[in-house]
């Protein structure tokens, strides 16, 4: 059973109150983009065995979209954050890296940390 905390209403949502929205932080390529970019927007997904960033909608509640960092293998939830952002909060990334050294997800994770330290 998966429970996520909705960052908007603070409710501990049961999985059945939520609607899954697939991968988070997809960049939408529209008109004028190259076929490769459009293909990546439509089809290319991360699908990790490990910590994944996902979109969820509190469908049986406030109705808002939010993001969650969850491990696909252990179902451990690292945190949730509002959807009005292009990247996970640094605090959350550090929390994940503390438990999963070397974790990367697209451009987030290890490279972020190295960049920050440089």
């Amino acid at each position: 059973m998966l429970t996520l905390s909705c960052p908007y209403c603070g409710v501990q949502c049961d999985e059945t109150e939520l609607a899954a929205g697939g991968e988070a932080h997809l960049k939408r390529y529209g008109p004028e983009s190259s076929p490769e970019e459009f293909e990546s927007y439509l089809f290319v997904r991360e699908n990790p065995k490990g910590v994944h960033l996902e979109r969820w909608r509190h469908a049986h509640g406030c109705g808002k979209w939010f993001h969650a960092a969850r491990c696909t293998m252990t179902l451990e939830v690292f945190g949730t954050y509002p959807a009005q952002t292009l990247a996970p909060p640094q605090e959350l990334v550090e929390k994940i890296l503390a438990k999963r050294p070397g974790w990367t997800w697209r451009e987030f994770g290890q490279s972020d940390m190295e960049g920050a330290q440089a």
Binding site: Y8, C9, G10, V11, Q12, D14, T16, E17, A59, H60, G61, C62, G63, K64
Partner: protein, 175 residues
């Protein structure tokens, strides 16, 4: 087989849905003028089911007023919010309203909703939108039990599952 709680279906409740920036002071004043209550905190109800304000989402309130005064209250809110970006609609006939009253009312709802209904977690004045068996619903606790609202189109279903859930013996697990 005993009854855990009594289920009552209410004929009509006046309801107005209001969507606006709730941090805007004008919105708070308009709500107070119409209901006598301030905007409640997240997950709370201010007032009661006859005249109250329910926190539905970060930008949405459900305002309850007596059924025959809905039009006047709506007019008052729309006038007070002229010039402020908002949406206020009379949705009185959109929902069915039930009261689940009795000592074991929380057990009736705990059987249907994925909500922590222990007495230490959910108390008087708490409000929660959730899933009631297979349909969306919301409820809040008052002195004598819970009031449950769901869409009228699934009202008969909700009444059925509530009445069925009210049968049986209490577990006493919810404090």
């Amino acid at each position: 087989m005993s009854e855990l709680a009594t289920i009552t279906r209410h004929a009509e409740r006046g309801m107005i849905t209001l969507r606006a920036d709730l941090s805007d002071g004008t919105v708070g004043e308009a709500v107070r003028a119409a209901t006598g209550h301030a905007i409640p905190a997240a997950g709370k109800i201010a007032g009661d089911g006859t005249k109250g304000v329910l926190w539905m989402s970060p930008d949405e309130l459900l305002i309850m007023v007596p059924y025959d005064t809905v039009d006047a209250a709506l007019e008052q809110i729309v006038t007070a919010l002229s010039g402020v970006h908002h949406l206020a609609v009379n949705v009185s006939d959109a929902r069915a309203v039930f009261t689940v009253a009795g000592d074991d009312a929380r057990e009736v709802l705990a059987r249907l909703c994925p909500v922590d209904l222990h007495a230490q977690s959910f108390g008087v004045g708490d409000f929660r939108r959730t899933r009631l068996a297979q349909v969306p619903a919301a409820f809040w606790q008052h002195e004598t039990g819970f009031d449950v609202v769901c869409f009228r189109s699934v009202g008969d279903y909700a009444e059925g599952v509530l009445r069925r859930s009210a049968q049986g013996t209490p577990t006493g697990a919810l404090g």
